[in-house]
C-alpha cells in the first residue's frame, strides 16, 4: 500500500462522522470461510490481552506455589517417617524423586500452561476465557499445533527474560549494558503497539492473531407483539398506522437505536424517544402507551426498509437519500 493511500485512509477515518463509526470499527477484520461466507472477526483489544496475561500469570504463580508447598510438605513427611524406619539412601532417593517432580512441574508450568490450554477446543487459556478472547489462524485456515507451539515459545524473550532484566537494570548493577539489554527486550514487549493487528512477536512467526470470542444469546423476535402485528395497542386499543411520509424520515441507524431502546425497555428512554419521534412526525404525544407506539413504529419502519432492501435499496440513516 502506498503512503498516499494510507494517508487518505487515515484522513477518512479521522474526518468520518463519529456517530456512524461503530466503537472499535478499526478492529474489525473479515475472513472468508471455505464455504464462501464472510466472517466478521473483531481483534481483541490490547487491554483485554494484557488482562488475560496477568490473570494467567497469577494462576501460574499460584499453581507453582501450591505444587512447591505440597512437595515441601511431602518431603518433610518423608524425612520424619524416614528417620524412624528407612536407611539413609532410601530417604535420599525419595527426596531426589521429589526434586525431579518439582523441576519437571516448574518447567511444565512455565512452558506448558499456554500450550495445553490453547490447544483445547476453546483456543484460550483461563485468562483469555475470562477476558472473552481466543486465538485464531490469521489466514482463516486451521489452527495447528505448530502454530500454538511457535507463538508460545517466543514468550520467553517477550516476557520471562525482559521482566527480570528490567527489574535488575533499574537497580543498575549491570550499568549501561543492562540498560541496553532492557531497551532491546522492550522492543519485543512493546511489539503489539507497533502493528495494526496488535500481534505479538509470537503471533507474527506463528501466523496467528487474537480475536474476541463472541458469546451472545438469541434475543426475542421483535415483531410478535400485538402492537407490532396489527398496530393495535393491547393497553389502550389505540391503532397506530404510519404513512409513507412518516416512515421515510429515518434510516437503518435510527432503526437500530430504536431496537436497542425497545430491547432494554427503560421507561425514561422509551418516553424520550417517543416524544422525539412524535415531534418529528407531527403527532400529538400522548402518555402511557409509549411502548406500543414505538413497537408499531419500529415494525412498520423495519418492514419498509427491509422491503426496499430486497430491491437493493438501502438507507443508512436519516441523512442519506430516500430508500
Amino acid at each position: 500500500m502506498s503512503r498516499a493511500s494510507a494517508l487518505r485512509r487515515w484522513w477518512n477515518r479521522v474526518t468520518r462522522d463519529p456517530r456512524k463509526r461503530a466503537p472499535g470499527s478499526d478492529r474489525k477484520r473479515t475472513l472468508v470461510t471455505p464455504e464462501g461466507i464472510a466472517l466478521n472477526l473483531t481483534l481483541a483489544t490490547r487491554g483485554a490481552r494484557l488482562g488475560a496475561l496477568i490473570i494467567d500469570l497469577i494462576l501460574i504463580g499460584f499453581a507453582m506455589m501450591v505444587v512447591t508447598i505440597a512437595l515441601i510438605y511431602l518431603a518433610g513427611g518423608v524425612t520424619k517417617v524416614g528417620a524412624a524406619v528407612a536407611r539413609k539412601d532410601a530417604i535420599g532417593q525419595a527426596l531426589q524423586f521429589l526434586f525431579i517432580v518439582w523441576v519437571a512441574a516448574m518447567f511444565l508450568f512455565r512452558n506448558g500452561w499456554f500450550l495445553f490450554f490453547e490447544l483445547s477446543p476453546r483456543g484460550a487459556t483461563p485468562g483469555k476465557r475470562m477476558s472473552g478472547i481466543r486465538i485464531a489462524a490469521r489466514d482463516g485456515g486451521r489452527l495447528t499445533a505448530e502454530m500454538v507451539l511457535a507463538r508460545n515459545l517466543l514468550r520467553d524473550i517477550e516476557l520471562f527474560l525482559p521482566i527480570p532484566l528490567l527489574l535488575s537494570a533499574r537497580g543498575g548493577d549491570m550499568g549501561g549494558a543492562g540498560l541496553a539489554a532492557a531497551a532491546w527486550f522492550a522492543v519485543f514487549m512493546l511489539f503489539p503497539f507497533f502493528n495494526r493487528d496488535a500481534m505479538r512477536a509470537g503471533d507474527v512467526i506463528a501466523g496467528t492473531w487474537v480475536v474476541e470470542a463472541p458469546r451472545r444469546k438469541l434475543a426475542a423476535a421483535m415483531s410478535t407483539g400485538n402492537a407490532a402485528r396489527g398496530g393495535v395497542s393491547a393497553g389502550t386499543g389505540a391503532r397506530y398506522r404510519f404513512g409513507e411520509a412518516e416512515l421515510s424520515l429515518y434510516g437503518e441507524y435510527e432503526l437500530q437505536v430504536l431496537e436497542r431502546v425497545l430491547r432494554d425497555g427503560r421507561p425514561d428512554a422509551l418516553a424520550a424517544v417517543h416524544a422525539r419521534i412524535c415531534a418529528k412526525i407531527g403527532w400529538d404525544p400522548g402518555e402511557g402507551d409509549e411502548r406500543a407506539f414505538l413497537e408499531a413504529y419500529y415494525t412498520q419502519l423495519r418492514a419498509r426498509l427491509e422491503s426496499a432492501m430486497r430491491f437493493g435499496k438501502r438507507k443508512a440513516d436519516k441523512h442519506s437519500g430516500a430508500a
Partner: protein
Amino acid sequence: MALVETLRDLGRDLGRESRLFGGRRAAAQDAAIAKAALRSDRFRQEREGDWQRLEAIISRIERGRLRSLSDADLLALPVLYRTVASSLSIARETSLDAATLAYLEGLVQRAWFQVYGPRQSLATWLARFLGGGWSRAVRGMGVDLVIALAVMVAGTIVGWLLVASDPDWYSTLFPGGGGDVRVPGASRAVLESTLFGQQQQSGLSAFAAYLFSHNAQIAILAFALGFAFGIPSLMLLIQNTATLGAMLWLFDRQGLLLDLAGWLSVHGTTELFAILLAGAAGLHIGRGIAFPGELPVLESAARNGRRAATVMAGVVLMLIVAAMLEGFARQLINETPVRLAVGGSMLALWCGYFFAFRRDPEALR
C-alpha cells in the same frame, strides 16, 4: 480430522434425505410461538430451532465434552453449520434485526472455530511428529543447519585460540567458577579426577532433571532470539561453543583431549546436536523475516516459524535424552572407548533419523 471430514460428507448425504432437518420443522410446528408480522422475523422463526441446536452442540464441544455428544448430533454438526451459515448470508441481505444478526455472526464464528479448529489430539500430533514430521522439518532448514554448524565450529576454534594466546581469557569465558578445579595450571591428576571415578556420586537423577530444565531454557532462548533476524541466535551459539573450545584447550595441555572428548561425547553429541538445531531454527525464522523471497514478510515469517517450532519441540525431547545420558550414563561408564562408542552411536542414530528417515507424516491417517 479425517473422521470429521468423513462425517461431514456423510452428513451432507444424509441431509439430502432430509432426516436431519427435523429441527426446522419442529420449530415451525410449535404453535405456541406467535407468528411474526415481519417477513424477516418469520424467516427467523422457521430456522431458530436449527440455530439453537447448533449452539447447544457447539457449547458442548467447547466445554471439551465431545464424547458426550450423541451420534446424531455429531452427524448433524456439519450440516447445521452450513444451514446456519446460509441463514446468516440471507439474514445479512434481508433483515435489519441487529441483535439477531449479531447472534448469527457469533454462532457461525464459534461453529467455524470448531468445524475447522484444531481437531488434532495430542496423541495424533505426536504420532505424526515422530513418524516423519520432525525429520522433515529438520531437513526443511538445510541451509540454516549448515550455517549454524559452521558457526559452532568457528566458535570452538575461536575459543581455543583465544585461550591459547592468553590464558586469562579462560576466566572470562567461565565467569564465577570459584570452586571449579578445572582452571589453567591444574595438574593432570586433578583434571583426570573430574573425568573418571564419579560413580559414587549421589543425586544423579536430580542432577539430570536440573540439567534438562536449564539446557531446555537456553535452547528455547536461542530459538526465540531468532526473531531479531537470527543474529542473536548466532551470538549465543558462538558464546556457548567458545567455552567448549577453551575447555578442550585446557585438557589438551595435559594430554587428556581424547578422554575429555569421550566424557563429553556421551551426552554431548545429543546435546550439541540439539543446540545446533535450536540455533538453526532461530536462524530459519530470522532468514524468513530478512529474506522473504516472493512471499509477503508476514507469511514467510509464519511459514518458517511453524517449521522451526516443530523442530523446537524435538529439541526439547533431545535435551531430555541428553540429560538422561549426562546424569546417568556418563557417570556410570568409566572408560573412554565405551564413552566414545555411546556418543558416536547416538550421533549416528540422530543423523539417520533426520536425514535417512524420509517418511511422509501425512501417510499416517
